[in-house]
Symmetry: C2
Subunit: 212 residues, 2 copies
């Protein structure tokens, strides 16, 4: 893809304020969006996350009031709720090592140094720090999702402004190992959304990039 085409897509995207509730993403395209979520990179490759895709209109409606009233949660085609694994531990690392071995073959013991490095990294942190680290990874997923959606010609609206505890309750995550971090409605912008015509507000390159 030419670099200017990539930029064109990044300029085309914006945090969509009004979705066309009547326009739904086709099943085939959505499968590819999900696949892009699966492919998200993460620290050590540990993937400390789960993505909940909500299309149930009743559930979407219930989430609006816990999303600072933002109607995009209900009006989008597919709502992605990005959750983080809590208290990642040695068993999670073991599961990842087993999966690595299954996919790449070779001797399982050859992965011991990698496993020990990860155990050492996680073991050096408090629970709060481990959860903060997992949350950071979820923001990578959000970044990739927004960019990928733009490349695919889909609209999205990243949302920090939600009540994670209420999301957890409504999505049935309570008592489980995953907690809501972010929401990202995906779909198609409404022609009525005046925000799509507004100038993009970004600081100049000289303000945010420094060459050394």
């Amino acid at each position: 893809m030419k670099t200017n085409e990539v930029l064109e897509k990044l300029r085309w995207r914006y945090a969509t304020k009004v979705f066309d509730a009547g326009k739904k993403i086709s099943g085939d395209v959505w499968e590819d969006v999900e696949e892009s979520l699966v492919l998200t990179p993460s620290s050590f490759g540990l993937q400390p996350w789960k993505f909940i895709v909500v299309t149930d209109e009743v559930v979407k409606e219930r989430l609006v009031e816990h999303s600072w009233g933002q109607a995009q949660v209900a009006d989008c085609s597919h709502l992605v709720v990005l959750t983080a694994l809590q208290n990642l531990n040695e068993d999670d690392i073991e599961k990842f090592i087993v999966d690595t071995h299954e996919k790449r073959g070779g001797e399982l013991v050859a992965l011991n140094p990698y496993k020990e490095m990860m155990n050492g990294f996680v073991g050096s942190m408090s629970e709060a720090e481990v959860n903060g680290w997992a949350k950071n990874q979820v923001y990578i997923a959000l970044g990739q999702l927004m960019t990928t959606a733009a490349m695919m010609g889909l609209d999205a609206c990243p949302m920090e402004g939600i009540v994670p505890a209420k999301y957890d309750e409504i999505l049935g995550l309570e008592g489980g190992r995953y907690s809501t971090v972010l929401a990202c409605p995906v779909g198609f912008r409404s022609e009525e959304d005046k925000h799509s015509g507004l100038a993009k507000v970004r600081y100049s390159r000289a303000d945010v990039v420094e060459r050394l």
Copy 2:
């Protein structure tokens, strides 16, 4: 861009372990990478970051020992150091509001509710929380950078494994408002890098995506 082409690029990318030190990204292409960094979305649009682009070979070499010895920092074409604004405050919000007004026109006072919402949001958090939030935004930038680089056919290697304080020292950030969070060498993979041929390790879609 077709969705399967996007996936093809995401499968092509990997955390590059060995860069071809002799291959440099052209000036034109790099300008577009920087522009993609500028275009990164952030919460409220506040862009609490600065991106330091290091091509000075001496500086790159000095950073290797503070990057768990990872040679990619020196061998890449362009090293991007992603930094977060510390202690974002009302003046930063005012600056953003002024910039918004300059780019979009209209009445400045019309932006007051938006300004007050942001001040309320930031004011409700401790300094550590504000800095944690800014750090999260930097992870969005990392996600977009990795995805964008892949679309452009460039290789990259996200790195949490660095010593931020040492980076700050070497990059002259000490005493300033920005602190190092992450590094991301960008360039071209070496043909010698055996990691490019390894199977990608990701959990199955059934493991990480749940439909509701």
